[in-house]
Each structure stands twice: as C-alpha cells, then as structure tokens.
C-alpha cells in the first residue's frame, strides 16, 4: 500500500431480528455516531463515506441516496459497493484503498442490513431461477450450506456430534457479545435434535436473519497517529473473485458438492488466505495468527474453513474441535464474537468481523475478550462464491 492505513474507530448496533423502532436512516446513523464517538471525531472530520448493503433486500435501489442523512455523506466523496455477502469486506477494502491512496485523510465505511422490512426470503433465499427454474425448494444460501456440510462429512473432517460441539461454542461466544443477535443457551443435544433442513444441515447450524449496522473509520498513517491513541493497523488485504462455478441456474451454488473446485465459498476463502499468507510470511497460521473473525454462515462453514485457512491438515478439522483449539481460550480463537451464526445483517456482517477483530486487538472485548494478547488477527468475508475479502489486522506496524 502506498500509505499505511489504520482503523481509528468502530461502531456497531446490537443485532436484532427486528428494529421496527427505527428507519434505515436512523439505524445506520446509530452505527455512524458510535464510530465517530469511538474515534473522538465529528462527521465534519470525515472526508469520504463508503456504504454497502445487499441492494434490494430492503426493496430499494440507491440506498446511498436514501441514507445520505444518516451516513453524513452529503457533499463528501464516496462510493456505494454491493458484493453480496462480501459487501462488508469489500467496503472495508474500498475504504482502505481510499486511505492508502494518500488523497484522503479520513474514510468512514458503513454497512447495514434491515432484514425485518421486506421480502428478503423471496429475493435472496428462495427466488426461483428465471433461467433454469429447477430450484426444487432449496434456496441459494441453504443449498450452498448443504454443499459445505456434506463435503465436511464426506471428507470425514467432522461428525454431526462434533459440529454440535462447535455450534455450542458459537452460541456461548454469541451470548457474551453485547452486539450479538442470538444469545442462545444450547446443548449439543439441542443441536442434534434440531430440525433437518437438508441432511446433514440442521436449522440450528444456519445463521439468523438480522438487523444491524456497522461503521468503521480508517485513516492513513500520519492522520491515524495524529487522531487516534489506539490505532489498529491494516497489515494487508486481498479481495479475490472466484465465481468459477458453471452457470446452471439457482442450484449452481450447490454444485460445489460435486464440482472439482469444492464447496461453494471455500475456494475464494482458501485462495485469499494463501495469497495473504504468502505476502506476509505466514507459514504456520495456527501459530502466527492470534485470532480469526470469519464469515462462516453455518457451523459447517466454520469447520470447513479450519482446513481452508490451513489451521490443520486436510481432513483433520476434527482434531481442532476435539482439542477445543478454536475456543476463546484455545490457541487459535475463531469467532469469539459468536460469528455469523449469531448475527447476520448481511451488508454489515463483513464489517462486524473487522470491528470485532479491532476490539480484540485493542483488548476492549469485555466479557468476550480472549485471555491473551492479540497482535495479529485475520478477518474475512465472502459472498455468493464470487468474492472473498480477507484482511490481516495488527497492533503494531
């Protein structure tokens, strides 16, 4: 990067199933104000505003236009970015790029989703494909989750019982995070008894549909040092486009279960991690990274990604689970925020990963703070198999 960049402020709204008390403008404004307060800045100090969400999930185009008051974007430079589930990651990458360009001093990045408003299910989850029209009642996300789940079982990477153990860990983490939508008290038996959606994918393995907003402020080195007492540095990021799956209508997302590149999402996550590891001298990620905040939209994804991120050998995710290595007090804590299965306000989700990693690096996680010094954290988002944005954040340059 031409300029070194730091995160100098983060703001999140608590995840909820519904926020009928606020409009979209008011929701994003909560996150913007929280981030400004965290950075001890005012909106007048912001040069650029970048916004993203799953366009159309709220039934509106031009969300940047409708939200301009809440974002504080009027008259400022900026972009709107839409990259499906990776939106939060992509807007962060856009913000970092702006700050790294040396053209701007402060960049505010805002993601949100207000999934209590409309027909997200019809649009995003179960829309019949216009071209091939053979969805068969699956949905994009659900079918894709099945592809990951069944591949984990096929590879003998984990059993249903071990997946239940991971789900209980995720629930415990979520219950410690004040911004988590779900705060479930689960037992492994609860998970194993949960309704089957498509075997082995069960209802409790799947992320909720949440309402939340997240805002992050980034700045180039000179400004970050001037403005912020606790900057968290962006060591590197990588934004990959995959989307190799053949176009065969809606179930194309599911083809990963039979396709040579493997389950949907995985390829992009793996390739982004490989690129980042290579550029940053990470040869043993389990040892060198202190923490991972991931976009794992189901429990099975978390397990799949242990291997995609090279935390263990292929087919050996079960070892990490048995050792509880990815638990908050393990050697490679994974999603101590509770992860996406605890909160999924899609356009904000990737940015929540960044915010939670920043909080952990600062040591401000309260009840969810991991019991060790966090110097290096990996965060990533992914969406619809087309995009994965991964970033490494660090305490010191």
């Amino acid at each position: 990067m031409a300029e070194k960049v730091a995160v100098i402020g983060v703001g999140q709204t608590p995840g909820k199933r519904s926020r009928k008390d606020v409009s979209e403008v008011e929701l994003v404004n909560e996150a913007v104000r929280a981030a400004l307060e965290d950075a001890e800045l005012t909106i007048n100090d912001i040069d650029v505003v970048i916004q993203g969400n799953m366009e159309f999930f709220e039934g509106t185009f031009y969300t940047d236009q409708w939200l301009v008051e809440g974002l504080g974007a009027y008259g400022k430079s900026g972009l709107k970015v839409n990259a499906a589930g990776d939106t939060g990651g992509t807007i962060f990458a856009s913000g970092v790029s702006h700050a790294a360009s040396g053209l701007f001093k402060t960049v505010l990045v805002v993601g949100f989703e207000k999934q209590d408003e409309g027909a997200y299910g019809g649009i995003g989850m179960r829309s019949e494909d216009s071209f091939f029209d053979i969805a068969g009642g699956s949905g994009r996300a659900i079918g894709a989750m099945w592809g990951t789940a069944v591949s984990v079982i096929d590879r003998k990477s984990a059993t249903e019982e071990l997946a239940a153990k991971v789900r209980v860990k995720e629930a415990k983490c979520g219950s410690r995070n004040p911004y988590s939508h779900l705060k479930l008290q689960l037992t492994e038996q609860d998970v194993l008894n949960s309704d089957i959606v498509i075997w082995p994918l069960r209802f409790l393995h799947i992320c909720p549909t949440s309402v939340s907003s997240c805002a992050v402020i980034v700045a180039p080195e000179k400004e970050a040092k001037r403005l912020c007492r606790k900057p968290v540095w962006v060591k590197d990021y990588y934004c990959i486009h995959s989307g190799l799956q053949p176009r065969v209508g809606e179930p194309w997302l599911n083809l990963g279960a039979a396709y040579p590149t493997g389950p949907q999402f995985r390829w992009g996550v793996e390739q982004a991690a490989i690129a980042l590891y290579k550029r940053n001298g990470i040869v043993n990620p389990r040892k060198q990274l202190d923490l991972i905040e991931s976009y794992s939209p189901s429990t099975w994804h978390e397990i799949d990604y242990y291997e995609a991120l090279k935390l263990c050998e292929p087919g050996e995710a079960w070892k990490l689970i048995e050792e509880e290595a990815t638990w908050p007090d393990g050697d490679i804590p994974y999603d101590v925020s509770g992860g996406v299965v605890s909160t999924n306000a899609i356009g904000a989700t990737g940015l929540h990963r960044v915010a939670e990693t920043v909080i952990q690096i600062r040591g401000e996680g309260g009840e969810r703070q991991v019991p060790k010094d966090v110097n290096l954290g990996l965060t990533f988002a992914q969406g619809a198999d087309q995009f994965c944005t991964a970033a490494i954040l660090c305490k010191t340059l």
Binding site: G59, E117, G136, V150, D195, I198, A257, Y259
Partner: protein, 171 residues
C-alpha cells in the same frame, strides 16, 4: 400543537414490488436451448485449451480466459443418461417466505441431483430434478436418464426435461 409522541405505536409503510424479466439466452445458450426444444438433445462446449466441457456453454473459459469459438469441433453432444454425483433433498424449513406466504414445510420436493451427463467430464455438472422421492433408493453414482416433455410442451427451457429417472441396472 403537539406532535403525537406515542412511541409504543410503531407504524410501517407497506410497499409491494412485482417484477418480471426476460433474459436473452445469448448465442451459445440459445443454440443449446433450441436443441433441447426441437431435438431433445443436450449440447455443451469444450474449451480448446483445457478441454473442460461446459454446460451450459460459455463463450469464454473462465480458467484459461480464452474465447471458445463457435465451431463444430468445440461443441460436444452430451448423452441422454448420466451419473448422479451427489443429490440433496430439502425436507424441512422453518420460515415462511414473507413475499409469498409460502411455507415449505408440508410440501414434498423432489430431490435435486448433481448430474454428470455422459459425454461430459468432471467439469460438466448440472443440477436437475430427480423423479424418485424416496431417497433410500438413491445413492451417489446412481445412473439416471433424462425424461423429456413432449415436443409440443417443450419451450426451450431446462424444464423441458421433466426429471431424471433411475436407470434400472440388470444384475
């Protein structure tokens, strides 16, 4: 004059979107769909570099980034039978679709097979409906056959194949 300050009474403003689209199939897929409609045949293209056989046909190989020319030698006729590599069956869902009020629970869906048609290679996978709803009779690797709709019912859509039925193997 005071504005009404009852914050317990939360209002929402409804709006409804209805929309329909017509997507041109494009040169290659148009040809493929015409063959389905008029001849009940499946056609794919082969990348001249990596030899991946792509269904539906794509004008560019994503991996090699080369244009696949519209030449006879690049078109591959796929068989009317194939092998189910994996299949899935949606048996439960909890949420009502807010746009339609449709609740998946209680409906019996056909399983979806991830099928490699004969004449394809490992990159040739299509998702389509399986006839058999009793999944205990299905297994990875099972052979299936395309059951086409009658000519007058075929419209140049993937649903011109009614479903794929199990090919009985003689023991």
């Amino acid at each position: 004059m005071n504005v009404n300050s009852n914050q317990e009474d939360l209002l929402t403003v409804p709006h409804r979107l209805t929309a329909s689209w017509r997507e041109p199939a494009g040169v290659f897929v148009n040809r493929m769909l015409l063959a389905m409609r008029d001849k009940a045949e499946l056609w794919a293209v082969k990348c001249p570099i990596c030899e991946r056989i792509l269904f539906p046909p794509e004008i560019v190989c994503a991996m090699c980034k080369v244009r696949i020319e519209d030449k006879d030698e690049n078109w591959v006729r796929l068989g009317n039978e194939g092998t189910v590599l994996k299949f899935y069956h949606v048996t439960g869902s909890r949420e009502v679709d807010p746009s339609t009020g449709w609740h998946p629970k209680g409906q019996t869906f056909n399983p979806i097979g991830l099928i490699m048609p004969d004449g394809g290679n490992k990159w040739t996978v299509m998702a389509h409906v399986l006839e058999e709803t009793d999944t205990s009779k299905l297994y990875d690797g099972i052979r299936v056959k395309a059951v086409w709709k009658k000519r007058e019912e075929r419209q140049g859509l993937m649903s011109d194949i009614k479903f794929w039925s199990i090919v009985e193997v003689e023991k």
